[in-house]
C-alpha cells in the first residue's frame, strides 16, 4: 500500500471513529480564562466555545495564565457494567495541561517550565481512574497554560470513551505524528550520507549532491519534531535550525528542479540561497518573540518557490513526456499542496477551516509525509539514472567488444590476404628465378648444342657431353632452389654427394670437409645457386682438363667470409687464354655478382680455386 493510500485510509478511519456510539466527542466546551490551580466554580464568566479552539491570542492573557475547558458527559450504567476503564483522548496538547474529573485531579501532560520548553507532537491518552466516575452526569475539566507561544495556543476536540476504543485512535495518530518522523530522520540521514558520498566521489553528479543535501536538511527538520523537549536557553537556536532546514530543503528542491530541466541561472540560484539565509537570520536577530512573524512571512514566501518548483516539474514532464518522468513532478505537486495545507493550518487560514472543518481540527500536518514521498521519488529518479548509466556502460562495452572483434576479424582477414599475396609473390618470384636459370643455363646450352649438331659440328661424344652438362645444370637448379630447409651444408652436401660418384667414375679421388659453426648456415636459394655454379665449373674443369688424381673441396668460415676452396693435383689447367677461359670468366663474374671475390692459383702441380663471399651477402 502506498503512503498516500495509507494516509487516506487513516483519514477515513478517523472519520468513522468520530461516529462510534460509545465514544463521546466533545465539539463544544465551556471556557474560562483563569489561573486557578483547581477547577473554578461555575458562573456567568464561563462561555461556550467550539472545538477545536485557537489560536488564542497570547498577548491577551497574563504570561502565567491558564484556560479552563469544561464539559459534562454521561457515564452510563452499561459503561460501569462493562468494567472497561475510560480515558480522555487529546489528539494534541502541545503545551501540556491537566485533566480533572468531577473536581478531582485525574492526570496531566507535563507542562513546560522556565528552564524547559515542551512541544508535544504526540497525542495523549489519559486513563480516568474508575473511582472518580459516577453513573450519570460527570464533569470534565482541562487546564491549559497560555504562557507559551505558537502551537501551544491550540486546544483540540476532546474525545472520551472506553480505553480500548480510543487506544487504536491514539496509536494511529502516534504512528503518523511521532513514529513516522523518527523513521524519516534515520532514513534521511543515512540516505544523505550515502548519496553525498557518491557525489563526493563524482563531483560532476550535482543532482546527487543536491539530493543528498535535501535529504540531510529534511532529516534535520524532522528531528525538530522528534525532539519534544528543549532547554529554554536553546529554544531560539532550535527554532533557527528548524527554519534553516525547512527553507533549505525548499531552496535545494528548487535548484534541483531547475537543474533537472537543464536551467542554470546562477543569479536565480544565488537569490534563492540568499532568501534561505534571511529567515534564520531574522529569527536570530529578533529572538523568540519574532518567531511568529518570521514563520508567517518568510515561510509564506516559500509558497511561490514551491509553485515555481511545481511549474518546473511540469515542464520537465513536458520535455521528457514519459511516465517515469512524471513521478518526481507528481511528488513535488503533492509536497507543494501538502506544504500549502500545512501553512494554512499552522496559521489558521479560515479558508481551510471552512473547506474541511472536520479535518482541520485534527491538526495533522502532511508535509512530513509528502516530503518523504518526494525524497522517495527523487531517490527513485536517481536510481533510475544510475541503472540507466550502468546499462549505457554495458551497451558501450558490448559495442566496443563488437567493434574490437570486428577489427580483429578485419585484421585477420587482411593478414590472410597479405599471406596469400606474399605466397603468390614468393611463388612468382621463384617461378621467375627458375625461368631465368633455365633461360641462362639450360636454355642457352640446348640452343647452342642444337645449332652445332645441325651444322654437323659435334661428334657423338661432344653431344653426350653437352647433354650431360644440361642435365647437371638442371640438377644444380633443383638442389639450390627446392630445399625444405635452407641449410647450405645440406645443399652443398647433396651437390658433392652427386659429384662423388661422377668423380669416382673418372678415377679422381674426392674428399671434402664442411667446417662451419654448428648452427644452420642459411643462404638464400639464388645465392646458393651461384655458389654451386662456381663449384660446378671448378669441378667440371678438374674432370675435363686437369687429369687430376684427387680433388679436395673445403667449405669454411673465416673472418666474416664464407670460403669455398677447390684444390686439385692436376696439370694446372686454368689458363685465361685457353679453351676454358670462358668458364673462368663466368666464375669471376658470378663471384663479383655475389659481392665476393675469386682467387685462382694454377701451376704444374695443381690448381686452387678459392671463392670468398662475405657472410652478410648470403641471405640475399
Amino acid at each position: 500500500m502506498s503512503l498516500r493510500g495509507r494516509a487516506l485510509a487513516v483519514a477515513l478511519m478517523l472519520a468513522s471513529l468520530c461516529c462510534a456510539a460509545q465514544v463521546v466527542e466533545l465539539d463544544r466546551m465551556q471556557l474560562l480564562s483563569a489561573a486557578d490551580p483547581v477547577p473554578p466554580a461555575s458562573g456567568s464568566a464561563w462561555r461556550t466555545v467550539r472545538l477545536p479552539d485557537g489560536p488564542f491570542a497570547s498577548t491577551a492573557e497574563p504570561a502565567a495564565g491558564a484556560r479552563w475547558y469544561r464539559s459534562n458527559f454521561q457515564w452510563r450504567e452499561e459503561d460501569a457494567a462493562a468494567r472497561s476503564s475510560w480515558a480522555v483522548y487529546l489528539p494534541y496538547l502541545y503545551g501540556g495541561g491537566e485533566v480533572w474529573i468531577n473536581g478531582s485531579f485525574a492526570g496531566a501532560v507535563s507542562k513546560g517550565t522556565t528552564a524547559l520548553i515542551v512541544r508535544w507532537e504526540r497525542p495523549h491518552l489519559l486513563p480516568v481512574p474508575a473511582n472518580l466516575l459516577n453513573p450519570g452526569s460527570n464533569q470534565l475539566d482541562i487546564r491549559v497554560p497560555t504562557g507559551t507561544s505558537g502551537e501551544a495556543r491550540h486546544f483540540p476536540r476532546v474525545a472520551m470513551g472506553p480505553l480500548h476504543l480510543l487506544q487504536a485512535r491514539h496509536d494511529t495518530r502516534m504512528f503518523w505524528v511521532r513514529t513516522m518522523p523518527q523513521i524519516t530522520v534515520v532514513v534521511c540521514l543515512l540516505a544523505s550520507v550515502f548519496v553525498l558520498f557518491i557525489w563526493w566521489r563524482r563531483r560532476s553528479e550535482v543532482l546527487y549532491g543536491l539530493f543528498g543535501l535535501a535529504a540531510a536538511l529534511w532529516g534535520l527538520r524532522t528531528l525538530t519534531f522528534v525532539i519534544e523537549q528543549v532547554p529554554a536557553d536553546q529554544w531560539v537556536s532550535w527554532r533557527i535550525a528548524y527554519l534553516a532546514a525547512t527553507g533549505g530543503f525548499i531552496v535545494v528542491m528548487a535548484i534541483f528542479s531547475m537543474r533537472l530541466v537543464g536551467i542554470r541561472k546562477p543569479w536565480v540560484e544565488r537569490a534563492l540561497l540568499a532568501y534561505w539565509g534571511v529567515g534564520p537570520m531574522l529569527l536570530a536577530v529578533l529572538g523568540a518573540g519574532g518567531e511568529a512573524l518570521v514563520n508567517r512571512i518568510w515561510i509564506g514566501g516559500m509558497v511561490p518557490i514551491g509553485v515555481a518548483i511545481l511549474l518546473l516539474a511540469g515542464w520537465s514532464v513536458w520535455l521528457q513526456r514519459s511516465l517515469s518522468a512524471a513521478l518526481l513532478p507528481t511528488a513535488i505537486a503533492v509536497a507543494v499542496v501538502a506544504g500549502v495545507h500545512d501553512y494554512m493550518m499552522a496559521w489558521n487560514v479560515g479558508f481551510l477551516g471552512s473547506l474541511l472543518p472536520g479535518w482541520s481540527g485534527q491538526r495533522v500536518f502532511l508535509l512530513h509525509h509528502a516530503a518523504n514521498l518526494l525524497l522517495l521519488a527523487m531517490a527513485g529518479l536517481l536510481t533510475a539514472r544510475f541503472v540507466q548509466a550502468l546499462h549505457a556502460l554495458e551497451d558501450l562495452n558490448q559495442t566496443l567488444e563488437a567493434r574490437v572483434a570486428d577489427r580483429e576479424r578485419h585484421l585477420a582477414a587482411s593478414f590472410e590476404r597479405m599471406g596469400v599475396l606474399q605466397q603468390q609473390n614468393a611463388a612468382s618470384q621463384e617461378r621467375q628465378l627458375i625461368m631465368r636459370e633455365i633461360h641462362d643455363g639450360l636454355g642457352s646450352r640446348l640452343f647452342t648444342s642444337l645449332l652445332r649438331v645441325e651444322r654437323g659440328d659435334m661428334d657423338p661424344a661432344q653431344i653426350a657431353e653437352a647433354l650431360r652438362a644440361c642435365i647437371a645444370d638442371m640438377r644444380l637448379a633443383l638442389d639450390a632452389l627446392t630445399p625444405d630447409e635452407p641449410d647450405f651444408r645440406t645443399v652443398l652436401g647433396d651437390f658433392l654427394f652427386r659429384w662423388q660418384a661422377q668423380l669416382e667414375e673418372a678415377h679422381v679421388r674426392p674428399s671434402w670437409t664442411i667446417d662451419v659453426p654448428d648452427s644452420a648456415l642459411t643462404v638464400a636459394p639464388p645465392i646458393a645457386l651461384q655458389v654451386l655454379r662456381i663449384a660446378q665449373e671448378a669441378l667440371t674443369n678438374v674432370l675435363k682438363h686437369a687429369g687430376a688424381r684427387q680433388v679436395e673441396v673445403r667449405l669454411r668460415h673465416a673472418g666474416g667470409m664464407l670460403e669455398l676452396d677447390v684444390i686439385d693435383d692436376g696439370r694446372g689447367s686454368f689458363e685465361p687464354a685457353g679453351a676454358n677461359g670462358r668458364g673462368m670468366h663466368n666464375m669471376r663474374a658470378r663471384a663479383l655478382q655475389l659481392g665476393g671475390a675469386l682467387e685462382l692459383q694454377s701451376d704444374a702441380h695443381g690448381t686452387r680455386v678459392l671463392l670468398r663471399v662475405p657472410l652478410s651477402a648470403l641471405n640475399g
Binding site: R475, D484, T490, D494, A501, E505, L555
Partner: protein, 220 residues
C-alpha cells in the same frame, strides 16, 4: 652366386641400357625386363628376383605400388629405384614403400652394376637432404605417440637407435661417409649398412603408421 635382377622401365632406351648393363656383368642375371607396372607385379608373382630395378614414372601404375608389392611378396628382395634427379620427395616415398637404394637415370653402366652389388653387399647410399627428410619423417611420426602400441614394430617412439640418429644428423650436415665413420669409429662399409637398416625401419615404420591411420579412419 648370381644376383637375379628384374627391370621395370617404360622407356625402351633406358630399358635397353639397364638390361645391357645387367647382362654385361657375369655376376648378374636378368630375370625379366618389362615395360609397365602391372607386368612387373605379375612377374613378381611368378619369379623371385634378388634385385628389382624400377622406374617411378610408369604408364599404368605408380612405381611405388610395384615396390610395395615386391616388399610384401619378397622381403629379401632389394629394390633400387630409378629417378631422374634423385630428389628427396620421390626417393623418400620409394623408401617408405620398401626401396633401399636409388639410381640416377643417366647413370653409367658401371654405376648401375656397382650400385646393384653395393646394395646386395648390404650397403645403401644416402644424400644429405634425404637424410634430413628421413630424420624428419621419424621425428614427425614419433611426436604424436598414439595410445595403442603399433602392431608393426611395437614401439611408439622413434625406432632409430641413437647411433642411427646421429649418423643421419651428420649426413644431413654434408659430412662424407668416411668422416662419419671416423667420428662414429666404424668403417664406411658399416655406415652404409646402417643406412640400409634405417631404410628398412622407415618402411616398417610408415607401414605401421598407415595401418594405424587406417584403423583410426575405420578402414581396417
Amino acid at each position: 652366386m648370381h644376383t637375379r635382377v628384374l627391370i621395370v622401365e617404360d622407356e625402351p632406351e633406358f630399358l635397353r641400357r639397364f638390361s645391357n648393363a645387367v647382362l654385361s656383368d657375369p655376376d648378374l642375371s636378368l630375370v625379366a625386363a618389362v615395360s609397365n607396372g602391372l607386368a612387373g607385379k605379375a612377374m613378381l608373382d611368378v619369379q623371385r628376383p634378388d634385385v628389382l630395378l624400377v622406374d617411378l614414372g610408369l604408364p599404368d601404375i605408380n612405381g611405388v605400388e610395384v615396390i610395395r608389392h615386391a616388399a610384401a611378396r619378397h622381403p629379401g628382395c632389394d629394390v633400387l629405384v630409378v629417378t631422374m634427379f634423385g630428389d628427396d620427395e620421390h626417393v623418400v616415398a620409394s623408401i617408405e614403400a620398401g626401396a633401399t637404394g636409388y639410381l640416377l637415370k643417366d647413370a653409367s653402366a658401371e654405376r648401375i652394376t656397382s650400385s646393384i652389388h653395393e646394395l646386395r653387399a648390404g650397403g645403401a647410399p644416402i644424400s644429405p637432404s634425404i637424410a634430413r627428410r628421413v630424420l624428419a619423417r621419424f621425428r614427425l611420426a614419433a611426436k604424436p605417440s598414439p595410445g595403442p602400441p603399433d602392431p608393426g614394430d611395437g614401439s611408439a617412439a622413434s625406432p632409430l637407435t641413437p647411433r642411427e640418429t646421429e649418423l643421419l644428423r651428420l649426413t644431413a650436415k654434408g659430412l662424407t661417409f668416411e668422416t662419419i665413420g671416423e667420428l662414429l669409429e666404424i668403417s664406411p662399409h658399416t655406415v652404409v649398412a646402417h643406412v640400409k637398416k634405417i631404410y628398412r625401419k622407415l618402411a616398417v615404420h610408415s607401414r605401421s603408421e598407415a595401418v594405424y591411420e587406417a584403423s583410426q579412419l575405420g578402414l581396417l
